[in-house]
Symmetry: C2
Subunit: 220 residues, 2 copies
């Protein structure tokens, strides 16, 4: 995950609205800040113990309140490949989950489905190692469905609702409209669209990229 | 380049129209077969000599008449990475050209611009090796702009013209509309949309993927 980009976006947003950290409607106009999610894992307490034998170490806050990057890293091991130095995000979750791009999934040889975070029933498994420990997941490997985090105030402003799927115009060097972008509304969310690197590359997105809702793909 | 997919598409198209190899309007309805272009190089005579010391060896025809995959392979060497076993396409061209995805460009550490094939003025260079020879390109590294090859009959049928940019709906597991897709009309072209793996992954395209023109981004 390119934290520089994420932090840069947050700084600019905060400067723009003069926020002190409590998001309401956090970006003016109809532009939605786009954040690129690199491959990462969320771990349950049991897998944290297996892999590291100690609690996760907080390094820095992420854009969504309460989520943080950890010092710990893992190796992903699949049938046809290995990916090293993969970010671990905290806090611990009830179930471990590995979020990949389709490019990553191809390298590992894992047929990962596009799913919403947390919806891991029936997904493929994977092996994780840490240098000192190993954890085998029976399921939990997904390609995270693209989505927009927003507060109720932002949802009202855009005229959208939780779990609605919308069309978003991405203004990169080769523009595209992504369909089926899931709206996720929560009072603790800051306005941010999350996509993976395949999606960013497909439309040639640069830094400080923006999206714009241009239609509704499917009602909630 | 996944030749299996390409061949599969060609077979199905040919079966559908009962063609004997002379394309006119080669697919019924408004569906456009999508072919995934993997990373590959086109070489000028001088670079072929430097790298292999002999003419290219024909292995198999590609979907566009006259274009073929060669037995020869090259290594791409950039400032921050190396990619091995890269396909060489024949015949020789006036200028060498390396076509990458943005994911590949990131691995190599090369800032490749999105360009039409052949439009390489001012693009970054690269080093190619073959095991027995080496060629240094001063320019020629591009990310190929997505495009649709079609015959004049297909262009008339779709109501589009050469060099027009169109919007194409891609019906993958996470659908999208690609803007700025360049229409290329030539009597020798078979109907096929060419995209790279970043683009295919961004919309979760499977085998036998199809696109549909849904609008005009920009007139020719």
């Amino acid at each position: 995950m390119d934290q520089t980009i994420v932090e840069d976006i947050i700084k600019k947003v905060m400067a723009q609205v003069g926020s002190t950290g409590t998001p309401e409607s956090s970006v003016a106009g109809d532009a939605i800040p786009v954040e690129l999610s690199g491959r990462h894992v969320h771990l349950c307490e049991e897998d944290i113990k297996e892999l590291f034998g100690a609690p996760l170490t907080h390094v820095k806050e992420l854009s969504q309140p309460g989520q943080y990057l950890c010092k710990e890293r893992v190796r992903l091991i699949g049938p046809s490949g290995v990916i090293d130095n993969v970010a671990v995000l905290g806090p611990a979750r009830p179930k471990s989950q590995v979020e990949l791009s389709l490019t990553d999934a191809r390298i590992l040889g894992i047929k990962a489905p596009v799913r919403q975070s947390g919806d891991v029933a029936g997904t493929p498994g994977i092996v994780l190692t840490s240098g000192s420990g190993l954890a085998g997941l029976e399921e939990g490997v997904i390609v995270a469905a693209r989505h927009i985090h927003m507060s109720p105030a932002d949802a009202a402003r855009f005229g959208v609702s939780d779990n609605q799927k919308v069309d978003v115009h991405m203004d990169g060097s080769r523009p595209a409209v992504f369909k089926d972008v899931i709206v996720r509304v929560n009072k603790d969310f800051r306005l941010a669209m999350h996509i993976d690197f395949d999606e960013a590359n497909s439309c040639g997105l640069g830094k400080n990229a923006r999206g714009k809702i241009v239609g509704v793909t499917q009602e909630a």
